[in-house]
Amino acid sequence: MMGQSEKLQKIAAEALEQGQVTMVLGWCKKDFWWQAPVAFITDPASAARLVWDPFTVYNPVKYLLDNHHCHEKIGVFVKGCDSRAVNRLLQDRRLEREKVVLFGVPCDGKTDAAKIKAAFPGRKISAVSRVDEKLLVDTDSGTETLPAAGYLLDKCQTCRHPNPVVYDVLAWEKVEPRPGVDDARFVRVAAVEQKELEERYAYWLRQFDRCLRCFACRNVCAACNCRTCIFDQAEPRWIGKASDLADTLNYQIIRAFHVAGRCFECGECERVCPADIPLQELNRKLIKDINEYFGEYEAGLDPNDKPPLGTYRGEDPAGFDES
């Protein structure tokens, strides 16, 4: 039986050979066992570099913004979350569907390297592979087995769409969402909501005080796809340049507002944050409120629908005193 990596390699090689695409974006292995960076494959022979392993978490879709001009057609491997990024870009008219061939990869959740490392303190790990619901960890003192479910990235534990929502080819059979993901979706938001007002402000101050304004959250986000971000402009200057906490709050509030109704919950912002700021708690709060006030809406499922802040109903309720 063909391994999962081999399946991806075959799909990519065939698409390149047949001239269906001139480049394929997928994942490859480089220096570290815990990383599977995005690979740009342009000839069938290099397709063998492609892998599917516990760490193929990166979203290759945003790279299309830089590359779609140079190629007739690009093939992209997309997990559930990545496919919703495609819909995000399609809805934002930053991508044309005809210019991409989507190789859907049903995903059973990616592994959190930090959790693995923590499980083997002091031991050197050389490789981690996944067999069904088991992780095989090669360490300097032998191979260990871990249950995959216990070592998932946080973001994958609440993933409602592990299967690509849009694709041309499917690499293998679809998987079932993890049980309980629906209930888990807003648990953290509810926990913050439970706090007292002052406690909440203190909480967020604590979080954002760590913010370096490195903009990694923005740069990784497929919903943040403006050609020039409003925060990078000199005139008018929307936020101050110095690292004032008030400017940081301004940035974070407006960032969250700009993805309101558009965030498709991939959780990349939170994952890449070097300061571990729980940005999903903010993004999902907005999703929760939009659902409650304006009706259930899930971004990134249909590029032809209207984002909730770009439409209205006359009978909408208001979150303020309308008397």
């Binding site: 913050v192 909501e193 007002l197 002052e198 406690e199 909440r200 402000y201 203190a202 909480y203 967020w204 101050l205 409003i230 929307w238 101050g240 004032d244 906490l245 008030a246 400017d247 709050l249 301004n250 509030i253 407006i254 969250a256 507002f257 309101a260 109704g261 903010l282 709060k285 907005l286 409120d289 939009i290 006030y293 304006f294 909730p308 802040l309 209205y312 109903r313 006359g314 909408d316 309720p317 208001a318 979150g319 303020f320 005193d321 309308e322």
Partner: protein, 143 residues
């Protein structure tokens, strides 16, 4: 809790749409309906012109409260502007509360051109509410 200095006079920034709420403010004037001096109005064509960034900026620069006022839903001079206002600021308001900003600090109200009395009473209320909260330190520049 912030410390309330003696005789604290809050600064309130109000964004009023030209056709309804600004006209309502003018009517309060022509009807000589007194209200406190704490409010400063910025005239915008429509409440849908108000960018959340303006609101955060006002807090950053030292506003103790921000009000956005527009036509009642269905009466927008531009037909649908305030429907977008309603959605945008429903989201923003919940988010600010979630981040620990007192709900009184950011308010959205519908005030028509004929509601001079309502304009005055909204001003009275918001001033009183913010006075009792004390000066705003949240979201504010360190300088």
């Amino acid at each position: 809790m912030s410390v309330k200095p003696e005789g604290f006079e809050p600064l309130i920034v109000a964004f009023c749409c030209n056709w309804c709420s600004y006209a309502g403010a003018d009517l309060a004037g022509t009807s000589r309906m007194a209200y406190p001096t704490n409010v400063r109005i910025i005239r915008v064509p429509c409440s849908s012109r108000v960018n959340p960034s303006f609101i955060i900026r006002a807090f950053q620069r030292g506003a103790d409260a921000v009000l956005v006022a527009g036509c009642h839903p269905g009466d927008c001079h531009y037909h649908s502007g305030n429907f977008f206002t309603r959605r945008r600021f429903t989201v923003l308001k919940q988010m600010l509360e979630y981040m620990g900003i007192e709900p009184e600090r950011f308010q959205v109200r519908w005030i028509s051109g004929s509601e001079g009395a309502k304009f005055a009473s909204v001003m009275n209320n918001i001033t009183a509410e913010v006075k009792s909260l004390g000066p705003n330190r949240k979201l504010r520049d360190a300088r």
